[in-house]
């Protein structure tokens, strides 16, 4: 099968689990013999410092000025196209981000400003674009990104003209407009893959424009893939999709059969790790409140918060307010070897997410032999049994469990032993198989819908 896949991050350009998921999925699809054209909204730099080893890009074909095309050696059947863009969907976009993007000389024209409008022009006809007129019209924060999604859609449509594909697969809201446009212009079925929703990221304070894009995306799609039952339920409840259109494909992890090296660091202090974006969704304040409670009973413990995000400064202040500033370390955003290193140092990983569609990081922790506490408000808790689970708001219980893990080596040993066994059973191959099944259903439905 030929898949036209729209993503927005890919190792090494990741801010969260989505890039990791796209990496695992595309590689497994490639291994299964499917051909993937993967479109990225970012310029590829040569600075490869991630924990995922990427080889040098091979052939660079320039279909479109400004679009880079390359191949990764380990991905036999995956081609990458990247579009210069500044999509930063998970963090507040900085002001003026748009000015740095120049989009000159492309074949993209600006005949229509509505990327969702069905086009009658067909493959060779007009494509969709964003002119500077639009860009100026949109507001500063979400406007930047919403405008970007439209421009990304235009480029994707142009890019798709030279491609041969059976199905369009779009990952998360930033790519939905592009997915819808490509699917409509080239008359192909659309599968959208929901890795997170606006309700996860923003709680009840949803950005209406983003919600609208998400809603439109999941309704226009022929099939919807949710990363968990947690997310599926949210889609049914908040987006009004009919249950028979959504299926669950859980994420996985690449363990490569490698055993983690035992930590050689000798120390008296135990380390409890938070690793993830420091944003509302991830519940960093609950981690600190639990830390405060733990420190009342256990002195030799340090809490490490690895990650960046709009709440990072606030958390530094909160740690100080709680009087535990000297026991909490903020590392900033970690990449590559540093991620490995911090896992190896950790005695325990805690994911206190308020609303976590999936949560790949706990799988990474388990594959590094680190025991894990996760919030029950997460998709990953559906597939893990050998972990400790708490409600994110129950900081007393979180502290109770943190202390238990720190105090009782037999608990750590049992969690590790069974946890690593369990995590090894989760494979991207199974996840890719789930996607292929969804493609098949989307194609079948599409055929019936439009004979």
């Amino acid at each position: 099968m030929n898949i036209f896949m729209l993503g927005w991050e890919f190792p090494p350009f990741i801010s969260g689990g989505l890039g990791t998921a796209c990496y695992g999925l595309t590689r497994a699809l490639s291994d299964l013999g499917h051909r993937v054209i993967f479109v990225l909204p970012q310029t590829v730099s040569t600075e490869f410092t991630t924990h995922v080893t990427l080889r040098t890009p091979a052939a660079v074909k320039g279909f479109i000025p400004g679009v880079t095309s390359y191949r990764l050696d380990e991905f036999d059947n995956v081609e990458f196209r990247s579009v210069p863009s500044t999509l930063k969907p998970y963090g507040p976009a900085g002001p003026g981000g748009m000015e740095t993007v120049h989009h000159t000389g492309s074949t993209v024209t600006s005949e229509t400003t509505d990327p969702h409008a069905p086009t009658t022009a067909g493959v060779s006809g007009s494509v969709i674009s964003t002119g500077s007129k639009n860009l100026n019209a949109v507001a500063h924060y979400d406007g930047d990104m919403v405008g970007e999604t439209e421009r990304y859609a235009a480029v994707a449509v142009a890019l798709a003209r030279n491609e041969n594909f059976d199905v369009v697969h779009a990952h998360d809201w930033m790519t939905y407009p592009a997915g819808i446009a490509v699917a409509q212009v080239y008359r192909k079925p659309l599968v959208v893959h929901v890795h997170s929703t606006e309700f996860d990221r923003s709680g009840e304070h949803v950005n209406q424009r983003i919600y609208d894009i998400e809603r439109r995306g999941v309704h226009m799609a022929d099939r919807v893939i949710a990363v968990s039952h947690f997310t599926r339920n949210l889609l049914l409840g908040r987006y009004g999709i009919s249950p028979d259109r959504v299926e669950v494909v859980h994420n996985a992890i690449d363990t490569n059969g490698k055993l983690p090296l035992p930590s050689t660091i000798r120390r008296d202090e135990k380390i409890v790790l938070f690793l993830g974006r420091i944003t509302m969704q991830k519940g960093p304040e609950y981690f600190l409140q639990a830390a405060k409670l733990v420190l009342q009973h256990e002195k030799n413990v340090r809490f490490v918060m690895a990650g960046s995000g709009d709440m990072a400064r606030g958390m530094i202040e909160l740690a100080a307010e709680l009087g535990i500033g000297q026991k909490v370390v903020f590392t900033g955003f970690l990449r590559g070897d540093d991620v490995d290193r911090v896992y190896k140092m950790a005695d325990l990983y805690v994911m206190p997410s308020v609303s976590e569609p999936f949560g790949i990081a706990p799988l990474e922790a388990l594959s590094h032999d680190v025991p894990v506490i996760i919030s029950k408000q997460s998709g990953v808790s559906e597939i893990l049994t050998h972990v400790l689970k708490v409600d994110f708001w129950d900081t007393h219980e979180m502290a109770n469990k943190i202390i238990a893990v720190l105090r009782h080596p037999p608990l750590q040993a049992t969690l590790r032993e069974h946890g690593s066994f369990e995590v090894n059973r989760l494979t991207w191959k199974d996840a890719a198989g789930g996607c292929v099944q969804a493609y098949g259903m989307a194609m079948g439905q599409y055929g019936r819908k439009r004979p």
Binding site: K389, H396, A399, I403, A404, L411, T414, E417
Partner: protein, 389 residues
């Protein structure tokens, strides 16, 4: 001639309440939940089943006979939460057709950790039997039928005439569980559970996917009759909660129980015997050699349900490490609390075997996970330790 020997196990643990590391009080047990469960099981099982057995004894004019083993912690909870259950057991005792086996008061694994505590708990249980039913037991059963040659020796030293064990295939080989055996070099008799026929009732009775479903009393009596000539006694040992709780009333389990004696005794050479009568009637025909520990649990018939992972052995070890210090305190309440922690169920809840698959272990587990149960138990144990210091 085939005898049918029923023994029903009656047990309810004192379940712990959620006890966090931040708790400091000494109220470890979940009175509300324990009371609820006790009353629920009494209504669904103990009271109707006792009535059924009483009726059977009367209808068959004393020719139906059976045995119970009731733990001290179950009896204590009946007294607190539903005294009517005690009265109904007393009525059964008064018929003279029911006997009560000896076991550890707290349904504990003490045999594995402290012979002193093991003996003490059996003695406590015997006192309770005398007090409630006016009889001393002559047959011993260890918690969860945990057994080896040493258990037999210990029971013999305490004066018991017989001990109950699982009829484990790997020890019996081609031999039948339907005879009485003795341990190597010992005089005490061993009664072995016929697990096939026992489990047909206890586990498979209501299973519509089972080839023998529905199980009629005639069919079952036919299987009993097949024993004639190659055995003396069919030992049907099972949890009493089989009736009405594990097998619901609508499976017809009570009707089955009620009509079984008639079906079995339609062959005049068949009868029902209590364990002590089996021992008196049939001499041991050979050796049952159990150098290693066995039990009646799971397919493994070993100790892995209570001692299968590091958490379980750690919790048990830490618990029994406190024994002498707890006793030295001479504080009856502290000792009773500590002893209620020796109940095997606490360690069963920590079992990680099959946990991911969800099965019988999950059904009996009040915790969301074995890890939660370990954490809770260790928090309680920490508090017990603090009371000693």
């Amino acid at each position: 001639m085939a005898s049918v020997c029923f023994y029903f196990q009656v047990h309810q643990p004192y379940r712990l309440r959620r006890y966090s590391v931040f708790d400091t009080d000494h109220n470890y047990f979940d009175d509300t939940k324990n009371g609820e469960i006790c009353r629920k099981v009494a209504t669904k099982c103990y009271l109707p089943a006792n009535q059924c057995i009483l009726d059977m004894i009367r209808v068959h004019e004393g020719r139906f006979r059976c045995a119970y083993s009731i733990t001290g912690v179950a009896l204590d909870q009946f007294a607190t939460y539903h005294p009517e259950v005690l009265d109904s057991f007393k009525r059964l005792a008064d018929t003279g057709c029911v006997e009560f086996l000896a076991e550890t008061y707290y349904h504990s694994l003490s045999f594995l950790y402290s012979r002193e505590e093991f003996n003490a708990q059996i003695e406590l249980h015997q006192k309770k039997m005398m007090e409630l039913f006016g009889k001393k037991s002559t047959v011993f059963r260890n918690t969860e039928l945990i057994y080896n040659n040493d258990v037999a020796r210990a029971a013999h030293e305490l004066g018991y005439k017989a001990v109950i064990a699982e009829g484990a295939d790997h020890l019996l080989g081609h031999r039948s569980p339907n005879f009485v055996y003795h341990p190597p070099g010992q005089q005490i008799s061993v009664l072995l559970k016929n697990y096939r026929l026992s489990d047909d009732i206890a586990f498979r009775f209501g299973n519509r996917g089972w080839a023998e479903w529905p199980l009629s009393t005639e069919k079952f009596a036919g299987w009993v009759n097949q024993v004639n000539g190659c055995g003396y006694t069919v030992n049907l040992f099972m949890d009493y909660e089989t009736f009405g709780e594990h097998q619901w009333t609508d499976t017809g389990i009570f009707e089955f129980l009620y009509h079984l004696p008639g079906a079995v005794m339609s062959l005049p050479e068949n009868d029902f015997k209590m364990p002590s009568e089996v021992v008196a009637a049939y001499p041991p025909i050979g050796e049952f050699d159990a150098p290693h520990l066995i039990s009646w649990a799971d397919t493994e018939r070993d100790l892995s349900a209570w001692l299968g992972n590091a958490m379980q052995s750690n919790a048990l070890q830490e618990l029994f490490n406190l024994e002498q210090a707890v006793k030295a305190k001479k504080d009856p309440e502290l000792l009773h609390d500590w002893r209620r922690l020796t109940t095997s169920d606490h360690f069963y809840y920590m079992c990680t075997k099959y946990f991911a698959d969800g099965d019988v272990h999950k059904y009996f587990n009040p915790y969301e996970s074995p890890y939660d149960s370990y954490i809770n138990f260790m928090n309680v144990l920490d508090n017990v330790a603090a009371r000693i210091r």
